[in-house]
């Protein structure tokens, strides 16, 4: 495969475009799922869509893409709102409710699928592609549907941006301000369900949740701003779609869905490690710097302790009377000298005026002038 194939090969171009749009809408709506602590809702809904797919086929008897999508949408919505009902009305916690709906709906879906397979007029071949998804079956019409849905959800998102933002960060306050939180809740849940149903055909039931989560989780590490996070997540999603499709097209026997998920997962890993401020690397560096700084302060305060009993604070002392217990190393001493808190002459040190003021202010910050 060559890079130019992306532009010349019709099938590949359609699939790449489709997965890119799918990644973008998943990243966009996934940000809300992640921030609302509903990360696993996507997993549950994507499984819950299965009986809808099967029922749509049983009832209509034809394998029409759009009918099947509508069936999946309805059963996904039923699942999502049943989860909310269980959490609200019984003492079962949300994890149990999610697991219940996920496995029971999926089981029922499997029952229906195997039932369909044994039906006499079965031209059902291909229904099970929704289990793992097959990006290769994407046609131009699907891409158009995805693009339209993405446009609509972006529009609605922008329309209710301020309300949704408020709901995310302070649901109670939103309610007291008089916004209809129930409506907003239904709105965002419905859009998440729609995004999931769209993705079923491409990445399948099992991996759909990762499509929703991974871009958002990666984007969360880079920013604390909701707008930036949503934009970044869409970008990560689209990018994992394109890169994943590229990799899977370059080799035989490599299904697209899992590759996209792995690409998205590596984005997450990269962000976890390298993101500024929140990332593990940045955190480790900050930790080390703080520890060094603490050692420095400890040495300085110890010196202050010695010095303050003298009439002349710049009276020289031997370095030997400092000991390692107080965090003193030759490096700390040289840093202290650099900052002109102390002067070193041979094996003697003496405190400067600045050093004395600094040490006093450290004690003041600690709220104790005498130990």
């Amino acid at each position: 495969m060559q890079l130019s194939d992306f532009f010349t090969d019709y099938t590949l171009r359609t699939i790449t475009l489709g997965t890119a749009i799918l990644g973008a809408i998943c990243g966009m709506l996934g940000s809300f799922a992640v921030l609302r602590k509903q990360s696993l809702l996507g997993d549950a809904i994507s499984h819950a869509a299965l009986p809808g797919i099967a029922l749509a086929f049983i009832i209509t008897g034809v394998k029409d893409r759009n009918l099947i999508l509508i069936g999946a949408l309805i059963s996904g919505l039923v699942g999502a709102f049943w989860i909310k009902g269980i959490v609200k009305h019984t003492r079962l916690k949300s994890d149990t409710a999610l697991g219940l709906i996920l496995s029971l709906f999926f089981g029922f879906g499997m029952l229906l699928l195997t039932f369909i397979q044994k039906m006499p007029n079965a031209n059902q071949a291909g229904l099970d592609k929704y289990l793992f998804g097959q990006a290769a079956t994407l046609v131009e019409q699907d891409v158009w549907v995805m693009a339209v849905v993405t446009g609509v959800s972006l529009f609605v998102l922008l329309l209710f941006w301020k309300e949704l933002k408020l709901l995310l960060f302070d649901a109670d306050y939103t309610k007291t301000l008089g916004f209809n939180t129930q409506f907003l809740d239904i709105l965002i849940t419905s859009f998440i369900v729609i995004a999931i149903v769209l993705g079923l055909q491409t990445v399948g039931v099992v991996l759909m949740s990762a499509m929703l989560l991974a871009p958002a989780a990666a984007a969360r590490q880079w920013t604390n701003n909701l707008a930036k996070m949503v934009a970044l997540a869409s970008m990560f999603g689209a990018l994992s779609g394109v890169v994943g499709t590229g990799i899977s097209a370059s080799q035989s026997n490599l299904s697209t869905g899992p590759v996209i998920v792995l690409v998205a997962a590596s984005f997450v890993m990269f962000s976890f490690v390298f993101a500024p401020n929140r990332g593990l690397l940045a955190r480790a560096i900050r930790f080390r710097r703080n520890r060094k700084d603490l050692n420095l302060k400890k040495t300085l305060t110890f010196m202050h302790h010695i010095v303050r009993n003298h009439e002349n604070i710049s009276h020289p002392h031997s370095i030997r009377i400092l000991n390692n217990f107080h965090g003193f190393t030759l490096k700390t001493l040289s840093v202290l000298e650099q900052r002109q808190f102390i002067r070193i002459e041979g094996d003697q040190w003496s405190m400067t005026e600045e050093g004395f003021t600094e040490a006093t202010s450290i004690y003041d910050q600690l709220g104790q002038t005498d130990d």
């Binding site: 996920l102 990762a210 989560l213 989780a217």
Partner: protein, 386 residues
């Protein structure tokens, strides 16, 4: 019934019991979704084990896969500890990644591996009796019966041995730790047992439906009882019921056994969810409705107590003053009259002696006791029984 049919039902029942036991604790510890994560992420372990052993029932494969399950839990907990994402996000990130690796491993070696991804996800109980354990020329029964039987034996004996510790650490982690039972060891013990059970069961019912067998019986039982022992027994019963009835339904419809087992579980849960006494949706809604009426009654009585002037106490006035709907005010009025708390003369409402006493004491309760200790008061006045 043929012997194959009996064997299938036996295997299904044993799988159901083996899943229900750890499931109870997972549901109580709010870790139900971990079972979903484990059941998916064992896939690479299973594939790897299958490459080595070429046998889905080999002990090595089970150990390898169970190990993958425990690694999943550790990975999830590692990500949770970094505090970079919320805990459920950690679960949602780890298992699809591991599952994808498994799917790709299968796809890349599709030609030399007789391991179907559908079989992994869905299992096929109907073929279980054909894979038999033969030792020294004698037929000892289906292999998977032995596998799930020994797993069940291990988990039952562990449960009996550590019942007290498990119970304590499930309901009061802090106390368990202070008393010297290591929560970490118990936690990982439970995780290991769950992993092994899921691996043992996936062959029969598949990766997703294992989750149904783990969560649904325990969740249904949790809505019916407060006693851990009863909950364990109930969830085992539910599991066995679903296994046997599911088998016959599958037989009838000529469909997947695992699918119809979880459909039965779903129906069972739906029944319990709607009709469970005290905790079912219907009884919760009825209770909420009654409490709303009771609060309305109290407000009404307090209003009467506060107003001496007749125009404030007129029946007609009630609606506009407290701003109630017509139906609501009629219901409150009827309840109060039936309980002999008020009497109406010429459309003006008066508190009776009983009404005055009740209102005063209720007010007392509300202002002094923040707790809702009003239940005793209701008993005392024989209230809200008609």
């Amino acid at each position: 019934m043929t012997s194959a049919q009996i064997e299938i039902q036996l295997i299904a029942s044993l799988v159901a019991i083996a899943c229900a036991l750890p499931g109870t604790f997972l549901v109580l510890r709010k870790m139900a979704m971990i079972s979903d994560a484990i059941s998916h992420s064992i896939l690479p372990g299973i594939v790897l084990g299958f490459f080595i052993t070429q046998d889905l029932n080999s002990p090595l494969l089970i150990v390898l896969a169970a190990l993958t399950g425990v690694v999943t839990v550790m990975l999830v907990e590692f990500i949770q500890r970094t505090k970079l994402v919320k805990e459920d996000t950690a679960i949602g990130l780890v298992f699809p990644a591991l599952f994808s690796i498994g799917v790709i491993m299968i796809a890349k070696n599709a030609n030399d591996v007789h391991l179907d991804i559908d079989a992994v996800l869905l299992g096929e109980l109907a073929f279980a009796p054909f894979d038999r354990l033969v030792a020294g020329g004698t037929d000892l029964g289906p292999k998977s019966l032995w596998v799930i039987g020994s797993i069940l034996l291990i988990s039952v004996s562990l449960l009996l041995l550590f019942f007290k510790e498990l119970k304590l650490s499930t309901f009061d982690k802090g106390l368990a730790a202070t008393l010297g039972f290591s929560p970490v060891i118990l936690h990982y013990g439970l995780m290991t047992v769950s992993s092994v059970t899921i691996v043992g069961a996936f062959d029969a019912v598949g990766a997703v439906l294992v989750v149904a067998l783990i969560i649904a019986p325990a969740a249904s039982a949790y809505l019916l009882t407060d006693d851990l022992r009863k909950m364990l027994i109930l969830s085992c019963c539910f599991g066995v019921f679903a296994a046997i009835s599911g088998y016959w339904m599958a037989n009838l419809l000529d469909a997947s056994i695992a699918g119809s087992m979880s459909t039965m579980l779903g129906l069972l849960f739906l029944l319990v969810y709607l009709f469970a006494p005290n905790r079912g949706v219907i009884s919760v809604l009825v209770r909420q409705r009654r409490q709303r009426l009771e609060v309305a009654l109290l407000v009404f009585l307090l209003h009467l107590q506060n107003h001496e002037e007749p125009e404030e106490r007129h029946v007609k006035h009630l609606q506009e003053h407290i701003n109630w709907q017509k139906v609501q005010s009629e219901r409150v009025l009827n309840l109060a009259t039936n309980n002999n708390l008020i009497k109406i003369t010429d459309g003006v409402i008066d508190l009776t002696g009983k009404g005055r006493q009740f209102t005063a004491e209720a007010l007392n309760y509300i202002t002094i006791n923040k707790e809702t200790a009003i239940e005793d008061l209701k008993e005392q006045f024989f209230l809200f029984r008609g």
